[in-house]
Symmetry: D3
Subunit: 245 residues, 6 copies
């Protein structure tokens, strides 16, 4: 990518933001469909954040998609793994077809070895129980034992794709947690992340009030007075040397 | 609700009945579709029982469903939470559309604070990992990070709705366990619950026999002789001061 | 079944093979659709292997499918349980309709008591939380509290069926793990199992190399040189008296 | 079929009844799901009435379902055609899978030649434009150019099947018009047909009144007075030697 | 409706606009989802334009939805027909469930008699072949012979509903042609209709140029020069006393 | 395309072959999924044959897909039309999403003007009633009035795509009739077309025999004797100077 590198600050903000909060920030900017449909975490407790590296599949053809194709190190499914850079998230467009896998245990392990940030596919994964054991954030549409060749033909690396109904351009920022995966257009990433982190701090404060018995009106959304309380609370935490949320 | 309150006995019976058993009792009365389709528990090990308080959504319209609407404390999604009474289950008709959430962490927390019995939606929930941590029974169609405004427009409180393909009238009895959610028409609730509790006792006895090696014929369904054994077993337990099952 | 019994060796090979590996071996033989779609394990950590005993359902009819039918010990859903032999897997064709159950806790318990190897249905199960607690491999499309009579009418025992989109002939070999269920045509079972076990050993070796930092080219698929290393590694393990993988 | 033949009167009644009216009569008898879902006429203006002869498909297996199988005259898809008797409707259970055909032009032509009453499949048909030209009532889920072997394996003739979500027993009465196909259980056929023909006459009268400006209350459903008028109208037509409707 | 009546001019503009053009005008105003999904014309060559009168269904319950309910003239499905005013379009929310009908021939005929502008349902219709013969614009999701009671329970008249995934408020403008049905929020109706009629005129001109061999660049969308030509053409037609398009 | 041009003979054979017959020839060569799913003719009575020119869409993004993009003559949806050559079929990958259109009347008219052979999309078309009137073969998944920008973002011209679940490479042969669209890999096109034309001739002969009352065994598939008769019939027609079928 010839594009300017993303600032370190971006990742710090994202580390404090859920996919729900980021999705709200995108909604406020008129982007309503940046969360993947039908894609779930393979195991709980991972967090994903990185830049999209893409792989595109089309439907397989029985004469082209035979096991021998993997002898060719240029086969796109294999090559994209060896191209992955630290911090990249491999995002696969499998046309939401989960009747066969789009990757398996060995490829995911190699991707992790290369320092990639994670893997997202709107297709299935095979060896999914083993993949769930790896300390690596992986998201997929389902588990399927069948090889990718059964229904998928890999064609392109790092072109714009669709994944889970969302447009993904190479270099877009991909964020995942236990709820979902959301894609942030690269040029909006910093402002969205900054506002999301701030929204998280405010909602942490609001949630505490609700747990203490506050009714919704005046609290959520916050009235001018609640916002004032929030600012005082924030300052307080700052004085105590605590991280803001 | 102007309707007569439900008897305490009802809840005691329901505490001993699974959704499977209650569904059988409804089937025996000609009601075949009172179990929600596509709605699952957000976390395991909760039990839900209460009276339905309903919220109705229609599809969103971009000019109406903007973040500012929540400034209005009369917004139905927010107002229904503040109307919830102890023992009520908030049931949302989200038209089985899970592409965005119908509620999130703060609203669910407030609902719990108000003493409600639980939440059921045939749409999605956002902040679902946090919601799963609350000791509160919640059932939904999926997780989605997107705000309800993305696809849902809240219109009505406490009107008859559909949820998961089931008709739900305000005041109907809603029962949930780790398997499913089932709705019992209010006027049938007591007899269904009583018969379900009895059926549970009998099936506990039958299961014990099957575990001891009994074949199905004569045991399940029970023959006259097995029923006699069952009655003796019941009396025995009564004599020993044990609860019947 | 009048067919020749399956060799003990078959089960030993299968004990070392995942459904993913077996599916690859079937793919190599031109069989691309032997893995069930939409069928998942009811609880994790079980392994299933056995010979198919089948039950066929058609849609229910309200006048035929009434609770009294179970008084007849010849009712196919009940009879098939009492026919199950040790090592058999009961496979149910429920037309992928999960709006009601195809079996429940008592039947599954009896099936286990009879020594069956497991249960697979492309419909739903009721009492699924209780079934998940049994140390018995069970696979289904979903949980549903509703009795089978609600949508299913049992008609045939041990005829060829479809299950999860896969043809299943009585006596076919059924294998399940935490990922999926796959069906191996009986006449291919031994060679598929043998080759799958060998493939597992090779992939164990390849995975170890990838974990040690090997790049995919030359490793996966293995070059002549990698295969040589593999053979040395195999011999080594043999010398050490270790099982090959 | 060893069953008693159906009376000629049945077919006379059915000739005057739409599938909508018959479905209402079934509903009144507690049968709510006897109309096929997802099955439509291949061409307009045909009427279908006859007794069900069934064919059952399961999913295909690549090694079994090769073009050579048709060399065998006992292949069930071919044999069932040669077994068809005048007045029978061939009903195929294709598991609602329309990704390949369940029959084509030559088989349909032969079926017509044999005097069969029609063909119903919940799968697809190939050569559908040519089939639409034949003066023979045919109903299917879709058109597909692919041979049945692609996804279907024929297994059984004249066993109970599901078609379009409806149970079909050999010998059941099958009725089709431009709207739908409905199955009438054989033992109910005469009374359902008789009541349906009567309902058609009444609705013809009601429709005429509505066309003349009558409001719904008192007309549809008819009040005692409207029924009186209807009886007078019926008598009148009788006097004039006209068929009742 | 207490709302101000819609101007006659609106209907004149709409008479010249296709649903495609109106949908473009709504898109330009940020409304992307006002066209019904899964709803098609029952017969070709009709045009629909009118104000929405709504009916809301929830799922049926077997004990409530029995044929006797129609004895009550207040039953919402029947009452809404008798409330329909000239120029109104009856829009039914059937939850996109087409497994049974939401109306039939007699009701549609009565609706036409009352001078209504048409009928739209996202459910099915029964007697659809007869309905297709009436010179009245009707749109539905499918044909089904089954009575509405089979799956639908009518609850409300003239409340906001969803239909085909679109929000419909009583009094909204509903437009239908051979392609689709689109809903225009009442407050936007005049400006959308006016701009749509103008867009139609321009596209008529552009289409003529394309038919004469013009390439797309400079023509579609039109360059400044093409727009100039268009204005000259418009004036010309005006001079000739022709309607503008 | 740098590839060798396709021989004129190919098109002559294809002119005599239905999509059903071509699909059988592909099946015989191990290609089971070359017929598009969910794509139907916009109007009857057209035949399509040509070489694929492809357009690829990904999901739209609200900030990118605004009406102004069409000012750019390089926009892929517009540019691909101006690139189309006589004999080419424009095939669009719309990810089977028919909730908005992938093209409309003006673009289709321009495509026809350029001499293209037809248009195939697995998305929807707008202005579909007008398109149905053009003497130009067009196939689509549905009609939708909404602009492509609503859900589609055009990205690539003439790359391999998926359409209706089928892989399509630029230059592949695309055949359509009133039943379906099928894709023939370019390198197989001539032999498939030749064998399909021969199969059509044989099936014409077989059909005539079946119409004359021949039973299926020995006729379909043809016995050695029937094949002999066929060859005599063929020669006869040759002698009479008639085209073979």
């Amino acid at each position: 990518m010839a594009e300017a590198p993303l600032p370190r600050e971006l990742w710090q903000h994202l580390a404090q933001a859920s996919t729900a909060t980021v999705t709200t920030q995108l909604f406020k900017r008129g982007l309503r469909r940046m969360h993947l449909q039908g894609v779930v975490p393979v195991s709980r407790g991972r967090r994903l954040a990185g830049e999209a590296l893409t792989l595109r599949y089309i439907p397989a053809r029985e004469d082209l998609d035979v096991v021998e194709v993997f002898q060719n190190p240029e086969h796109p499914q294999r090559k994209v793994i060896e191209l992955a850079q630290p911090g990249q998230v491999l995002v696969m467009d499998a046309r939401r077809d989960t009747s066969a896998a789009s990757a398996g245990h060995i490829l995911v392990t190699r991707l992790q070895q290369r320092g990639a940030a994670g893997l997202v596919t709107d297709g299935a994964l095979r060896d999914s129980p083993a993949i769930a054991e790896i300390a690596f954030p992986v998201y997929a549409g389902a588990a399927s034992p069948a090889m990718n060749l059964t229904v998928h033909h890999a064609v392109d690396i790092n072109v714009p794709i669709g994944c889970g109904g969302v447009p993904v351009f190479p270099g877009d920022v991909v964020l995942g947690d236990d709820e979902a995966v959301v894609v942030i257009p690269r040029h909006l990433a910093l402002e969205v992340a900054r506002d999301a982190a701030e929204q998280e701090r405010l909602e942490t404060f609001i949630l505490a009030k609700v747990r203490d018995g506050a009714a919704l009106p005046g609290t959520y959304p916050p009235s001018a007075r609640t916002l004032e309380e929030y600012r005082a609370w924030l300052e307080d935490r700052g004085r105590l040397g605590q991280p803001p949320a």
